[in-house]
């Protein structure tokens, strides 16, 4: 082989691993030589988008991350906010999109497993999981297969490990047909003073690998799967998808919490994408130290694994801890008690380098700074697409009347009840769940330790973000905050997962840039810090990118959980009010989708006005002034009112003419139009009227009867509860019996 051919082979290798020629040259410059195979594998993973955020880090700098209640911000395993009383809530959302598209059950299951580890790595006991899922339209067999697998996988992992799945959302849209989304969020509870950071410290301390043994599963997951577009022939990638073992994680979780409680760990980090390489690299980087790892001391599933495989394996259910030598015996004894594996595989050094040893032989040696922070950060080259660049398929008869439209909306899978899914999840284990899925706009969990409760919501609406990335993202944050307001909770911190297409293309780059700007502005307006998040780019298939989908997770607090309002109408004769600056429009709505009339553009909002309304609704709920509260979302007021009625098993009589008059829309836009800032409240008439002093408030009707009667301008409709129910409850039937 000639010298030229050898160079060609080496270049082919780094390209196959996802590195550009320029990135390879930079690695050579940083090392002052060419990397060997072990080092190249390590760099290829830590310099992937998934680990290095090389296309997003610059943008993310504009997000507000500071606040009085923030205990840990971005950069740690998870963010954490102060709940008072010496307790903290730790939380994060993370994607497992590509693995789920390849193998939905294991992909989704390990997504849950991974986010749980991020949270208990801080020393927090996980108390809740929520999921945000996106699939193609339900009439696609592939979408039903992915949905079924993902829901089973989430249930399998969460149920088995004893952490309740308390909420979430599922949308079905054509652009997710090839690239489904699975974003899992976990919230944990920790004693503030006992939370641990992920920084390695103490030269001479030991590095202990705990949990499952290391196998060949998930090798190259971060680079091959997480940072390249999916295309035909994905079956070949199946070996890159990790296999989850919730029992192993259950033992590991209890073991880690026991070790932390006993003060036996200096620091702790989970092994996620890029396995040992990223864990060791990030721990060393955070602590300003070096780490030596001897691969011969790593417990293996297969005897003949190469050093590079050991360093990048993404075998699940593993944690890396730094332990003082004197504590090793006690640590191993606790691991033995929990029947979880543990081995001292290396030590903390003052070298500032990650050295990979095979016994006495050095097989890899790289500076931590080059590995963790050396990756070039790229500027995006955004360009706004000319027009609506996604599909538009009419599924609703153009001549459909108001009642027919309402039933079609209630039956559309994105609006319909998700009971079929959430009944497959244990939502009560842990004895904290005060508001279960679909009983309120946000999940509510009591935290008597901190003298109150927390509320959690997760929201994102890719279709509306596709219409206008900036305004759509603001709406997603407002909706999440509105959900919290409905149970009386005030946001403490925000986490997000930014799911976008290929950032190297101008269209997705523009969407990403505008979306992050919207996220920053909404967070600043609400005064909510971003405490952590995750970026999932390259969500594209042969048919193009997904809808740009920022998924927002909020954690808030409420002093009196018994006052957390449900969404169900509660009492015959209660008055119904529409509160907030809601100005419904058909732009980007579910109805526009059913009619095949989606297009660019959303109305703008006055952020200050919306933030004030959210605060006023929160105050009203906290004061016990309402008997139910529900924010207006997909399908507009007609669907929001139907949801309140169906959840309560009681009808309503509503006249939306006050809305038509006040906001100047049509009957149709008032019934089915969407937009932020709308709350359906029910309660005693006088109590609702009193809210009018602090909140835009229109009295629109009363609770009662066995039908949903709606009038708006020139339109009226009447739905029996039974008909509305059978439309709204049709999801399970359509999944099971398609």
């Amino acid at each position: 082989m000639s010298a030229g051919e050898e160079t060609a082979v080496a270049q082919a290798k780094h390209r196959e691993l996802g590195l550009t020629d320029a990135e390879f040259d930079r690695i050579c410059a940083l090392l002052e030589r060419e990397p060997n195979d072990v080092e190249l594998a390590m760099f290829s993973l830590l310099w992937s988008e998934h680990c290095a955020y090389k296309h997003s880090r610059k943008l993310l700098r504009q997000l507000p991350t500071e606040g009085e209640r923030v205990l840990m911000g971005p950069g740690e395993n998870a963010g954490a906010v102060d709940l008072g009383g010496g307790w903290a809530a730790a939380f994060k959302v993370e994607s497992h999109n590509h693995p789920t598209a390849v193998e939905p059950f294991q992909g989704a299951a390990t997504g849950v497993g991974g986010i749980l580890r991020d949270v208990f790595a801080l020393g927090a006991r996980p108390i809740a999981v929520l999921d945000s899922l996106r699939f193609g339209e339900l009439d696609s067999e592939r979408s039903r297969y992915l949905l079924d697998g993902a829901v089973r996988g989430i249930g399998h992992y969460g149920n088995s490990i004893g952490v309740p799945t308390v909420g979430g959302e599922i949308y079905f849209e054509g652009p997710y047909e090839q690239s489904c989304l699975v974003n899992a969020m976990c919230v944990g509870l920790a004693r503030s003073e006992r939370m641990v950071r992920a920084a390695a410290a103490g030269v001479g301390n030991l590095v202990v690998l705990m949990g499952a043994s290391t196998g060949r599963d998930g090798i190259g997951g971060a680079s091959v799967l997480a940072s390249a577009e999916l295309d035909e022939g994905d079956d070949a990638k199946r070996p890159s998808v990790q296999i989850g073992d919730p029992f192993e994680e259950a033992k590991l979780l209890e073991c880690c919490l026991e070790l932390l409680e006993a003060g036996l760990l200096v620091s702790l980090q989970d092994l996620g994408a890029a396995g040992l390489t990223s864990s060791a690299g990030e721990m060393a980087s955070a602590g300003g130290v070096g780490i030596d790892v001897d691969v011969t001391r790593v417990p293996l599933r297969e005897a003949d694994m190469e050093p590079f495989e050991i360093m990048v394996s993404e075998s699940q259910e593993r944690m890396l801890a730094v332990v003082a030598p004197d504590d090793l015996e006690a640590v191993l004894a606790t691991c033995e008690k929990w029947q979880t594996g543990a081995a001292a595989i290396g030590e903390v050094t003052g070298s500032g380098r990650i050295r990979v040893l095979r016994g006495t032989e050095t097989v890899g040696d790289v500076p931590v700074a080059a590995l963790v922070d050396g990756c070039p950060l790229y500027d995006l080259e955004p360009a706004e697409p000319e027009g609506w660049s996604y599909g538009n398929r009419a599924t609703l008869d153009a001549g459909a009347g108001a009642a027919e439209i309402a039933l079609a909306l209630l039956a559309s899978p994105s609006v319909a009840s998700k009971r079929w899914a959430f009944e497959q999840y244990d939502s009560v284990v842990g004895s904290r769940t005060v508001r279960r899925p679909e009983s309120a706009d946000a999940a509510v969990l009591q935290v008597p330790e901190a003298g109150g409760a927390i509320a959690i919501a997760i929201d994102g609406n890719g279709r509306r973000v596709a219409c206008d990335p900036y305004r759509g993202t603001i709406e997603a944050v407002l909706e999440c905050a509105a959900n919290l307001a409905c149970v009386g909770a005030e946001p403490l911190g925000l986490t997000n997962c930014l799911n976008f297409g290929n950032p190297e293309k101008p269209g997705p780059a523009w969407q990403l840039e505008r979306s992050v700007a919207g996220l920053a502005d909404a967070c600043k307006a609400l005064g909510v810090p971003v405490v952590g998040g995750n970026v999932s780019l390259y969500n594209e298939g042969p048919d193009g990118p997904i809808y740009p989908t920022p998924v927002i997770g909020l954690v808030g607090e409420l002093p009196e959980p018994e006052r957390a309002a449900g969404l169900a109408f509660a009492r015959e004769g209660d008055a119904v009010a529409l509160a907030g600056p809601f100005a419904p429009s058909l732009a980007g709505s579910q109805l526009a989708k059913l009619r095949g009339e989606l297009d660019k553009g959303l109305p703008g909002v006055d952020l200050a006005q919306h933030v004030a309304a959210i605060a006023a609704v929160r105050g009203a709920v906290r004061a016990g002034a309402v008997n139910s509260a529900h924010d207006v979302s997909d399908g507009g007021l007609a669907c929001a009112l139907a949801e309140c009625a169906l959840a309560g098993g009681i009808g309503c009589r509503i006249d939306l003419d006050p809305l038509v008059e006040a906001r100047g829309g049509s009957g149709e836009s008032s019934l089915f139009g969407e937009g932020p800032g709308g709350f359906v409240l029910s309660g005693e008439r006088e109590a609702l009227e009193n809210l009018g002093s602090s909140l835009e408030l229109l009295l629109i009707g009363a609770v009662g009867g066995e039908s949903i009667e709606l009038e708006a301008g020139e339109l009226s409709l009447s739905l029996s509860l039974a008909d509305a129910e059978s439309a709204w409850r049709s999801l399970g039937e359509r999944v099971e019996n398609a």
């Binding site: 399998h156 009944e423 284990v429 004895s431």
Partner: protein, 220 residues
């Protein structure tokens, strides 16, 4: 009055069961590897996935050291309550009749259901009345109670059916709507619904607390 709640690796609801017991008495966890029940008055085998339950729910737990002690405790008439996975474990251990199979719909189900009290033979039901309805959540993937017809006839004739799902609310296809059974002597009782998750008005219902109160009163 001391309740002992067994903790297997993979138990999920042991802390919830412990907290429920502590509402009516003292309670402690019992580690699966110990043969010693530490002198407790009541044993609770809680929900979860003992040892991962990858084989068949409860099939490994029946061999655990602590189950040897539970067998002796039960043989001497000690009151034992199995919940969900605890029911599966006690059936596998031969302390209760029947078996729990995969749900009819082949999916995990988490749902609030009503169950009807059938008899008051055990310490856990002595304080309840036959015909009384309790609202308690179920959450399981393998909760379909099964036994051959002649065995079911015998269980019914012996008065060993402790709870049935209310008409129309059987969540898993259990034979004859059976939600919970006891042994012939009446001291070992288990059910698939989770009474420990119905002890606090804030989290849904207090109907499950009645079982724990009943045991505390019966044994006081």
């Amino acid at each position: 009055m001391m309740f002992g709640v067994i903790q297997f690796p993979g138990s999920c609801d042991e802390r919830d069961a412990l907290a429920a017991c502590e509402r009516v008495g003292d309670a402690r966890l019992l580690w699966h590897a110990n043969r010693d029940l530490a002198g407790v008055d009541v044993v609770v085998v809680p929900g979860g996935f003992s040892y991962g339950d990858y084989l068949r729910a409860g099939a490994i737990a029946r061999f655990s050291p602590v189950l040897e002690a539970v067998r002796e405790f039960a043989a001497e008439g000690g009151p034992v309550l199995g919940i969900c996975n605890g029911f599966q474990v006690l059936c596998e251990a031969g302390l209760l009749p029947g078996a729990l199979l995969g749900n009819e719909q082949i999916r995990f189900v988490c749902r609030q259901v009503e169950i009807v009290v059938e008899n008051d033979r055990s310490a856990f039901t002595a304080g309840l009345e036959a015909g009384q309805r309790l609202s308690i959540p179920v959450k399981h993937g393998e909760g379909r109670f099964f036994a051959p017809d002649d065995e079911l006839d015998r269980i019914e004739a012996n008065g060993q059916v402790a709870f049935r799902y209310a008409p129309g609310q059987n969540p898993n296809g259990s034979a004859r709507d059976i939600a919970g059974v006891c042994n012939e002597a009446g001291n070992v009782l288990a059910l698939m619904p989770h009474p420990e998750h119905a002890v606090d008005p804030l989290t849904g219902s207090t109907d499950g607390l009645r079982l724990f109160e009943s045991a505390a009163r019966a044994l006081a």
